[in-house]
């Protein structure tokens, strides 16, 4: 397990993501309501760049099937190709979580380290915390 600083905290705003390369692995780092999550950028279905998909909620039914509700807003990633839904927090698909899932990685927020050199940042007077992905 190695730690990789991939961005500053302010760089990935709430609801946004950053796709980073760590060695040979492309990873999407997502900010959901101030918390960071990282999953592999490959859809298990047909290999699409999953993390380029849209981040939304998902519709489910209550006990009454006509009672359609939007849940988990901002936590569901929809693949840019075929639209399969994945829970960003776990990497598991909604349709068949035990059969279709993507690897997820531990993310922590560290202090006062410069961001990884490959990340282009703009000079700023405030030193920010870094987002660390553990691979």
């Amino acid at each position: 397990m190695a730690e990789h600083a991939v961005a500053t905290v302010g760089e990935i705003r709430e609801g946004k993501r950053k796709i980073v390369q760590i060695g040979k692995i492309s990873i999407g780092v997502f900010n959901i309501k101030g918390e960071f999550f990282a999953i592999k950028n490959i859809c298990p279905h047909k290999g699409a760049p999953l993390c380029k998909g849209s981040v939304q909620g998902m519709y489910v039914c209550g006990d009454n099937l006509d009672d359609v509700r939007l849940i988990n807003e901002g936590e569901i990633l929809r693949c840019p190709w075929h639209g399969w839904e994945f829970d960003i927090k776990s990497g598991k698909s909604i349709i068949d979580p035990n059969r279709y899932y993507v690897k997820n990685y531990e993310v922590t927020v560290d202090t006062d380290q410069p961001a990884d050199a490959q990340v282009e940042t703009f000079p700023t007077s405030i030193r920010e915390k870094n987002v660390i992905v553990h691979v």
Binding site: H45, M58, Y59, V60, C61, L65, V68, R78, C79, H82, G83, W84, E85, I94, I95, D96
Partner: protein, 356 residues
């Protein structure tokens, strides 16, 4: 039960598509309010009639009347000859094509009374004839009353309507019918017949030209209804509802389900009431009848299709007696292992129709 002619020591044979017909128009008119007599003037279609004979020429009863109109003769030619344990009777009233819902509902009632009278309550000493409660979807409330009226009849085993329609059957307006079917434990069967006639859409984008084209296309409407049942969440709303797709073919089932399953994986969000893979609903709630069974050059191909579509669980034998494209129980199927054969010819239908 009879052993005569039973192929390869089967446990039994249940024929899931047998067509009784009134001996003549007057026989049915006796059960139909007189105000409709001038409208219901023929059993034949205004067009798409078969160019030669839609009914087997050798099925003409000795005592006269049309093929399928004489219970004794049918018993002799079908039941006794092949050792059929149960014949599921489906009249073909062309009910869904009529623009007047009241007339359609009365026509359904007339067919039900006629069927009970001529085939189920009488001429049925051994209980081998099992009937279908015909309903007119044009008037769902009347259809529900019809189901309620006949549900307790000992020989009525399913609810029936034409697959010819002007609307896909998953729509909410039909749900009261399915609710009643589920409540009484009666499967809902659809059978092709009135596509493109009266108020019904054709099964294809436009109107077929010939009987050849029309009859080949009927399978499309059956498939469309199945897709509608699934995508409208009918089996999620009525988990106990069973549906029989009769004479709509079956070889299309596997690829259609592959496509539905694949589509659902990406589009589930649009139909959140579809909570399982479409193929799972089919396995639990839907059965298809075998006739008309294909005859590929390579019989092995048929067995492969059976395997793909899970015929072992979802297919039920049907002959379509007395129609021209009759599938004989002893000359139609390729060699199959005993278990598969028994499931198709007997066990699946016995379970589906809860037959003793």
């Amino acid at each position: 039960m009879a052993e005569i002619g039973k192929p390869n020591k089967l446990n039994g044979i249940i024929d899931c598509d047998v067509h009784p017909i009134p001996r003549k128009l007057e026989e049915l008119h006796a059960y139909l309010p007189s105000r409709w007599h001038k409208h219901y003037v023929s059993f034949s279609r205004p067009f798409y009639n078969h160019p030669h004979h839609v009914l087997r020429l050798d099925a003409l009863p000795e005592k006269g009347g049309a093929p399928g109109s004489d219970p004794d003769f049918l018993r002799e030619q079908l039941i006794n000859q092949f050792g059929i344990d149960y014949a599921i009777l489906l009249p073909i009233p062309n009910i869904t094509m009529w623009p007047n819902p009241t007339m359609a509902a009365d026509l359904a009632r007339a067919y039900n009374q006629w069927l009970a009278d001529k085939w189920l309550d009488n001429n049925n000493f051994d209980g081998r004839f099992k009937g279908s409660i015909t309903v007119a979807p044009q008037d769902p409330q009347a259809a529900v009353r019809e189901i309620e009226h006949w549900a307790s009849h000992p020989h009525m085993v399913q609810v029936l309507t034409d697959s010819g329609s002007d609307m896909n059957y998953g729509h909410k307006q039909f749900h009261p019918i399915y609710e009643a079917c589920e409540h009484f434990g009666l499967p809902f069967a659809i059978h092709p017949t009135s596509e493109g006639l009266g108020i019904n859409s054709p099964a294809s984008p436009g109107y077929p030209t010939t009987y050849f084209e029309w009859s080949t296309s009927l399978t499309f409407s059956v498939q469309a209804h199945l897709v509608s049942f699934i995508s409208e969440g009918v089996f999620e709303r009525f988990p106990g509802l069973k549906v029989a797709l009769v004479e709509g073919g079956s070889s299309w089932l596997a690829p259609l389900l592959w496509r539905l399953d694949e589509g659902w994986r990406g589009l589930r969000n649009e139909v959140p009431w579809v909570k399982k893979r479409p193929s799972e609903y089919v396995r639990e709630n839907v059965r298809v009848t075998s006739q008309p069974l294909h005859s590929p050059e390579n019989k092995e191909h048929l067995l492969q299709i059976f395997d793909m579509m899970n015929a072992k669980e979802v297919m039920m034998y049907a002959s379509d007696y007395p129609h021209w494209d009759f599938d004989s129980p002893i000359r139609t199927f390729p060699k199959m292992d005993k278990d598969l054969k028994n499931r198709i010819f007997y066990e699946n239908a016995k379970e589906f129709y809860k037959l003793p």
